[in-house]
């Protein structure tokens, strides 16, 4: 890049005492927009993600996990054994230097390390101290253990995800760890920085992962508190659309039945106009042209039959061609993309340059999730690979 781009958070210093996903991703976004972020780890309290796959091909050690590296680009790393008594003074010097303190370590340990808010304001009254406990610093479950895999079911995602004839399997990932918890935390920190710009005052933020993760499921919780209804998982449908599902297309490799070669397309019709355009795209087959499916009410009442017919129609189609055709007719459609498609196939992602490839001394060149939003005057930038 020729001209030095302006960084929004230039001069903001972050003492990042977090680990796993929810904390480090939040701090990475601060680094991407210009903050100086110092990760604090130690050999006795290493970020466990450093030991989780995937590892760069043929490589071992603490610095080659793609899981860890993707959440820690642009940061500096410092090792400090916080269990050692002499370390406390150093930790507090870091706090005195920082604008933002961040940790998602369990309250019991944060207290043992002497890093609670009352201790931090003694050395830095303007600090914005952000705590992301699993459940909270107070309350009957404050010492309950957990991380994303256990938090996802506790916060309702498992019960509400998937098909009703299946057990509550969840979303296949530690879902709230990646956008919901780091994102909510980031919002709270940025809002607190704005407040400090106005008033000079820092503050304590608690973004308990329990509360942060249940907040996006508010409609289901509200339906219970107001109507007493206990919503359950109900597959891929929506009350205001039909069809609304993923449909299998021609596999990537002709004749292959492998899961990795499957191709699915999501198709949704919210209006009767979208439905008529879909019927046209299907070549006006007899089954689709009568009154039975003409209105949303009719399509919802006969949704299984409708989706079986659509399923039979598109099974030989190439998913991307079908998506482009349907979208050109105004029908919402999208290929169910895997990581392979997102990285290698999706021309749109390439043109926007979302994924960033960085050279890492141990892993070599590797892909990273890029800045999560685009700012027209002060774009974000991943300044270095994971430390």
């Amino acid at each position: 890049m020729a001209a030095k781009t302006k960084a929004v958070l230039d001069g903001i210093k972050v003492a990042d005492f977090s680990w796993f996903g929810a904390g480090p991703i939040c701090a990475e976004h601060l680094a991407t927009f210009g903050a100086t972020v110092v990760r604090v780890e130690s050999e006795t309290h290493i970020d466990a993600l450093r030991t989780v796959a995937p590892f760069a091909k043929g490589k071992t050690g603490y610095n080659v996990s793609g899981y860890f590296n993707n959440f820690n680009a642009g940061k500096l790393s410092l090792t400090l054994n916080l269990n050692a008594e002499q370390s406390h003074g150093i930790a507090l010097r870091l706090v005195a230097w920082a604008d933002v303190f961040l940790t998602n370590i369990t309250p019991r340990v944060v207290e043992r390390w002497g890093l609670t808010y009352d201790k931090l304001v003694e050395v830095n009254p303007r600090i914005i101290a952000c705590y992301q406990p699993m459940q909270g610093y107070e309350g009957p479950h404050r010492d309950f253990l957990g991380f994303g895999a256990v938090l996802t079911p506790i916060t309702g995602y498992n019960y509400l995800s998937g098909f009703p004839n299946r057990p509550p399997i969840g979303l296949g990932t530690n879902y709230p760890d990646y956008v919901i918890n780091p994102g909510h935390t980031l919002i709270a920190i940025l809002a607190a920085l704005h407040y400090r710009n106005r008033t000079g005052k820092g503050q304590r933020i608690e973004c308990a992962q329990l509360e942060s993760s249940v907040a996006p499921l508010a409609p289901a919780i509200f339906d219970y508190t107001v109507n007493g209804r206990v919503q359950c998982r109900s597959g891929n449908g929506l009350p205001n659309a039909a069809p609304h599902n993923a449909f299998k297309c021609r596999p990537l490799i002709e004749g292959s039945a492998a899961l990795a070669d499957e191709r699915w397309i999501a198709i949704a019709c919210f209006s009767d106009e979208e439905w008529r355009s879909l019927v046209e795209a299907m070549g006006n087959p007899g089954w689709a042209c009568g009154d039975r499916f003409a209105t949303l009410e009719g399509r919802k009442a006969n949704e299984d039959a409708l989706e079986a017919q659509i399923g039979a129609w598109r099974s030989d189609e190439e998913a991307y061609d079908l998506m482009d055709d349907l979208q050109s007719r105004g029908v919402p459609a999208g290929v169910v993309q895997s990581a392979r498609e997102l990285l290698d196939v999706d021309e749109h992602m390439k043109e926007r340059g979302y994924y960033v490839y960085l050279d890492h001394p141990e892993t070599g060149r590797a892909a990273y999730d890029g800045p999560p939003f685009v700012l027209s005057k002060t774009p974000g930038k991943l300044r270095s690979p994971g430390p």
Binding site: H194, I205, V214, P372
Partner: protein
């Protein structure tokens, strides 16, 4: 509304937001409103279509009774305005001169076509921040593709990893694509606001739902990039390639729990075995070969399968160990299993229903559910709370969600200074 209206300071009490956002962006403007911003929701005269979405208060359909809408629009004010008419656009421009932030989610180019794009807004208010939230962002070949939530979670990679192999990939519940786009848009808006604090300049924030969701692929992106191995949907196992006793969904008497025994941080499998022995439920797991395997079950065990043939030999015993554990868990209630396991530092979580969340002792302790009076319904509704607490600038319910156009007179008359006659003529022309 300014800070002086309320004794409690709020983080964004000095910020005014014009909210043109459709469903994809309403969680964004909710977060801004809950942080204290004065969010003016601009609805078409016939009302925001999201007002028509279920669930409804007592299942009674009506534009003021969608619980989905009410939750997303608490703390906002509402005016009606048609941007289709020139008079409506003039009114919008008057509003824009006092706006710090405008949030919108139209198809890229739509506002430009109305003469209300970023350049036009910046002429009216040089330091304005325009936040645009769409499925694919403002640029690129898919920018104008229609993108309801399902298209976002499909194209963003979230669905590929969710579900049983025998089912279609699963759509996450309650529009998680919209939620992610809104969260990222809020962060983008506030980042731009911090730049404005120090440089007095606004800018255009471009948010793509697809990009916002990419990181929810967990390790799938890196696994493909580094190793050319594809992660696929595999039910409840997530990133674990084989079934390991103690990891996954377990059925209780009255529901389910989810276990992750053997991962670092929690108590080891031997503690779970000790508990089963205490309760006379260990069956033959106290005997070999099972006993020794129970002592060694952990994520490390898993990672040594590929390299250590002795470990690989033990795999045949795992289904039996799992069955014994399943029989043990089936004798417990889900809350009992969750709380007792956690007392023993064993990693189990309850699979909460919405009812369980409402009754969760930790959330109750924190008073997460918040009663809000709705005089028009002659009722008090228990609203879900916020994701975080800020000690100096706490969340406050400043107003219940607005009725359609409730603040037309207050804002058009009181704040913009339109006369009663002007307002009346806008009304009869169906501009407001």
């Amino acid at each position: 509304m300014t800070d002086s209206d309320n004794d409690t300071p709020s983080a964004l009490g000095d910020i005014r937001v014009l909210d043109l956002a459709g469903e994809i962006g309403q969680y964004c403007t909710k977060l801004l409103a809950d942080l204290g911003a004065d969010v003016i929701k601009i609805e078409p005269p016939e009302g925001d279509p999201v007002r028509n979405l279920p669930p409804f208060y007592h299942d009674d359909l009506g534009p003021e009774q969608s619980l989905y809408w009410l939750n997303l629009n608490i703390n906002k004010r509402s005016v009606t305005l048609s941007l289709q008419s020139a008079e409506g656009r003039d009114v919008f421009k008057k509003l824009a001169t006092s706006a710090d932030v405008v949030v919108e989610s139209f198809q890229p180019g739509y506002l430009d076509g109305l003469g209300l794009g970023y350049e036009a807004l910046a002429r009216l208010k040089p330091d304005v921040i325009l936040t645009s939230i769409t499925g694919f962002g403002q640029t690129g070949p898919h920018a104008r593709y229609k993108a309801p939530d399902i298209v976002g979670v499909a194209m963003g990679g979230t669905m590929w990893l969710a579900g049983e192999p025998a089912d279609p990939p699963n759509v996450p519940p309650w529009r998680q694509g919209y939620i992610s786009a809104s969260i990222i848009a809020t962060a983008g808006t506030l980042t731009a606001l911090l730049y404005r604090d120090t440089h007095n300049e606004g800018q255009h924030v471009d948010v793509s739902m697809q990009e916002a969701l990419s990181i929810t692929q967990e390790t799938a992106m890196q696994t493909w990039d580094m190793l050319k191995i594809l992660r696929n949907r595999n039910g409840s196992r997530g990133m674990i390639p084989i079934d390991i006793p103690g990891i996954g969904v377990y059925e209780c008497k009255d529901g389910h729990v989810y276990g992750y025994v053997g991962s670092p941080g929690g108590a080891p499998w031997s503690d779970l075995l000790a508990w089963m022995i205490e309760e006379g439920a260990a069956e033959d797991l106290t005997e070999e070969p099972y006993h020794e395997i129970c002592w060694s079950l952990s994520l490390r065990f898993l990672s040594s399968i590929a390299t250590d043939p002795e470990v690989a030999k033990k795999l045949g015993s795992l289904p039996h160990i799992d069955q014994v554990l399943r029989r043990f868990v089936a004798t417990k209630g889900k809350w009992e299993m969750y709380e007792e396991a956690q007392k023993r530092r064993l990693l189990f979580g309850i699979v909460s229903t919405p009812q369980d969340i409402a009754n969760n002792p930790q959330l109750q302790y924190k008073r997460w559910l918040t009663p809000v009076d709705h005089p028009e319904l002659n009722d008090t509704l228990n609203y879900p709370g916020t994701p975080y607490q800020l000690s100096e600038t706490p969340w406050a319910i400043r107003r219940r969600p607005p009725r359609l156009g409730e603040h037309n007179d207050e804002i058009y008359g009181g704040e913009l200074g339109l006369s009663i006659q002007q307002l009346e003529s806008l009304r009869s022309a169906e501009v407001v």
